[in-house]
Symmetry: none
Subunit: 214 residues, 4 copies
DNA sequence: AATGAATGAGCTTTCATTCAT
DNA sequence: GATGAATGAAAGCTCATTCAT
C-alpha cells in the first residue's frame, strides 16, 4: 500500500522535473541562458520559483541537466538505430537521415547542444559538458567511418580520400545545412529542408565515390 | 599648426572608438550580448564606464556598430575580389578560399555574424541587422550561382542540379566546416582546417560535376 | 482557518504598501522627486530596494500613488462634509476651516499636491495628475461659489463682486496663508496659524460683504 | 592703455557670469535643482562645462548666486521705490502693485525664491539663504506695517486689527494670488491676473478698513 | 582661460537565491 | 514540499567634477 503512495509521489516528482526541464529548454533556446530568468522558467512550468530549488540546485544545474537530456536523446538515437543493412552508400544515407530526423524531431535539443558549443554560457564553465560532447561526436563520426571503411574495402568509395576525414566532411556538409536551416536561411531562399538534404547527400556521396581527377 | 592638433585629436578619438569596439567584439563573442557587461568592456578598453558613453549611446549601439563593422569587412571582401579568371571550377574554388580567408583572418567578425543569427540578442530585436545579413548572404550566394550557371553552360558542371540549389549546398558544405572548426571539433579530431577545406571542396565540386547516377 | 491566514497575509501586504507610501511621501516632500532615492525610500520603509518592486512597478508608480492618495484624502474631505447649515457667511467660514484642517492634519498630502504643481517632477510628465488636480480645484471652488451666490441672493454679500471671482479670491487669500506657513514664515514672525487664519477670514469676508466705496 | 584691456576683460568676464546665471535661473525654474544638469546650463550659456568652473565653484555655488541675484533684485525694488505720497490706502496699493510688477517682470526670480523655500534643495542646506530671505521678508512686511500704522493713526484703517498682523495678512492674500497664477490656476479658471489682483486688493483693503462687526 | 573627454560614485532596476510560512 | 516575498549584488546608465591640452 505504502509502495503505491511512494510510487505516485515519485511519479509526480518526475513529472515536475520534466515540466521544469521542458520549460527551461524552451526558454534557453528562445532567450539564451542569461535572457531566460528563473521566474520565466517557473511560470512556464506552472510552479513557484522556490519549488524549482527543491529539484535543482540552481540555474546552472538546470542548464546542465537540459544539456544532459539532449545528450541522452542523441546517444539513444545513435545507439538504438545502428544501421547494418544495405550497401555502405545506403547505410550512410540512412545514418544521415537519422541525424536529420533528430534535428527535425528534437530541434530544441539540437539547438541546445549547438548553442552550448557556441558559447551560450561563459567560457570555461561546464568544461565537462564540452568534454562529453566531444566524446559523443567522436563516437558518431566513428560510426560513419566504419561504414566508409567497408565501402572503400568493397570498392564502392574512392580510396583517394582518408576514411576518417571523409566521415568528418560528410558530417560537416550535413551540419552546415542543418545550421543554415536553424538560422532561417533555407526559408529566406525558399528552399525545402528535405530537398536540400537530399541534394547535399547526393553531392557529398557523389564526391566521395567519384574517382577524383585532381 | 592647429590642423595638426585637430588631426591628432581625431586620430586619438578613432583609436579610442576602435579600442572600445575591439573590446566589445571580443567580449560579445566570448560571453554573449547579455554576458558581456559595460564594465567588462570598459575595463578591457582601459577606460571608465562613463567614457564609453562619450562615443556610443549605449550597449545596443556598440553591438550594432560591431555587427556593422563585421558587415563592412565581409562586403569589402566580396566586392573587392570578384574572381573572373580561370575555369568555373577554379573560380568557385577561389571564391571559397576567399570565404575561408575571411574566417581565418577575421574570426571574431565571422563569429559575431554567426552568433547574431543564432540568437545572441533577444529575438525580435535588431530586425534590420538580420535583414541586412539576409541580403548580404543572398548577394554572396548569387555570385557563386553566376559562376555555376556558366559552368553548366560550358558543360563543366552537371545539369542534373539546379544552379541556385547547388550554390546553396556548396555554401552549406563549407559553412559546416567553418562552424565545426569554430566549435573546436577540428582540433578535437586533430584535423587541419586547410586540409579539411580542400577535401570538402574536392568532394563538393566532385559531387556537383559528376553525372549523378541516381 | 485558511481564511484567517489569507487575511493576515493581505493585512501585512497592505501594511507594507502603506509603509512604502509613508516613506515615499515623507521623502518626496523633503527632497523632491529626484532627490529622494529608491534606496532612501527602501531604508525609510525598512525594506531592501528589491522588495519595493514587489509592490510598485517603479519610482514613477510610487509617486503617482502618493499623489493619488493625496487626492483621495482631499476628495474624501470635500465630499463627506458639505456644509449646509447656517448663514452663507458661517458656511464659508466652515468650509475654510475644513481646508485648514486638511492642511494641519494632512500637511504632507497638502505639500505633495502643491509641490507636484510647482514642478517637482519633470515638466510635461504626469499630465493626467495635473488634469485631475485642476478638476479637483474647480470642484472645490464651485462649492464656495454656490454658497456665495446664495449669500448675494440673500443680500448678505455685496453684489459688486462676481461670485466666481470672489470664490477664487477667497481661496487665494487662504492658500497664501497656508503656503506661507508651510514656508515657515508664520513661525518667523511668531504668528499663530489659527489666529492668522481667523484674521484672514475676517478680512476677506469683511471685504466681500462690505459695500465697496471705490 | 592696459587699463582699457583690463576693463574689456572684466566686462567679458561679467558678461559670461551673467550668461551662466541666466541659463541656470531658467533651467532651475524649468527642471528644478537636480533636474537641471551642468551640461544643460553650459549648453544654454554657450560655454563648455569646464569654463563654468572658472567662474563658479560648482552647482551649489551657481544655485546660491542665482538666489542671491533674486534677492538683489527684490531688495533693489523695495529700497528704490519707497512710496511716500498719497493716502495710506493709496500707498499700500502702490506697494502691492510694485510686488506684482516684480512677479510679472521677474517671474523667474520670484519662482526661484519660492521654489527655494519650498524645498528645491535638500533641507538643511543653504540655511543662510533661508535666513536672508527671512530678514528680507521681515523688512518688506515692516514697510507695509509702517504705512498701516499711519493709516490707523489717521483713522483710515480700523484699529480692530493689529497692524503687524494686518500687514502679514495683506501679504499672504496677495502672495496666494501670485502663487496660484504661477501654478496656472488663473489660466485654468480663465481669470486675468491684473483683474484678480485688483479685486483681491479691494477685498483685503476693504476688509481691513471696515469696522468689523464680529 | 577654455575645452570637452574622462572619471567614478551613485542612480533605478533586475534577478538568482533564500527562507518564513 | 510548496509558496512567493525579501534580499542584495550587480546591471546599464548619468552627471558633477577634474584635468590634460
Amino acid at each position: 500500500m505504502e509502495n503505491v503512495v511512494a510510487q505516485r509521489i515519485e511519479t509526480e516528482r518526475q513529472e515536475r522535473i520534466e515540466r521544469i526541464l521542458d520549460a527551461a529548454r524552451k526558454l534557453f533556446v528562445e532567450k539564451g541562458y542569461l535572457g531566460a530568468t528563473m521566474r520565466d522558467i517557473a511560470l512556464e512550468a506552472e510552479l513557484s520559483t522556490g519549488a524549482i530549488y527543491v529539484y535543482f540546485s540552481g540555474k546552472d544545474d538546470i542548464y546542465e541537466r537540459v544539456c544532459e537530456e539532449a545528450f541522452m536523446v542523441v546517444i539513444g538515437l545513435i545507439k538504438k538505430e545502428a544501421i547494418t543493412e544495405g550497401t555502405p552508400r545506403d547505410r550512410i544515407r540512412a545514418i544521415a537521415r537519422q541525424y536529420v530526423t533528430f534535428y527535425t524531431d528534437y530541434t530544441e535539443y539540437f539547438e541546445m547542444l549547438t548553442f552550448h558549443d557556441l558559447g551560450f554560457t561563459k567560457r570555461g564553465q561546464s568544461e565537462h559538458l564540452r568534454e562529453r560532447l566531444k566524446d559523443l561526436t567522436a563516437q558518431a563520426v566513428r560510426i560513419i567511418e566504419e561504414v566508409m571503411v567497408e565501402g572503400i574495402a568493397g570498392g564502392e568509395f574512392s580510396s583517394d580520400i582518408d576514411s576518417a576525414q571523409a566521415s568528418f566532411n560528410l558530417w560537416a556538409g550535413l551540419e552546415g545545412v542543418l545550421i543554415l536551416d536553424m538560422m532561417g536561411y533555407l526559408k529566406n531562399f525558399n528552399l525545402d529542408l528535405e530537398k536540400v538534404v537530399q541534394t547535399q547527400l547526393k553531392i557529398l556521396l557523389g564526391g566521395i565515390m567519384a574517382k577524383t581527377r585532381e
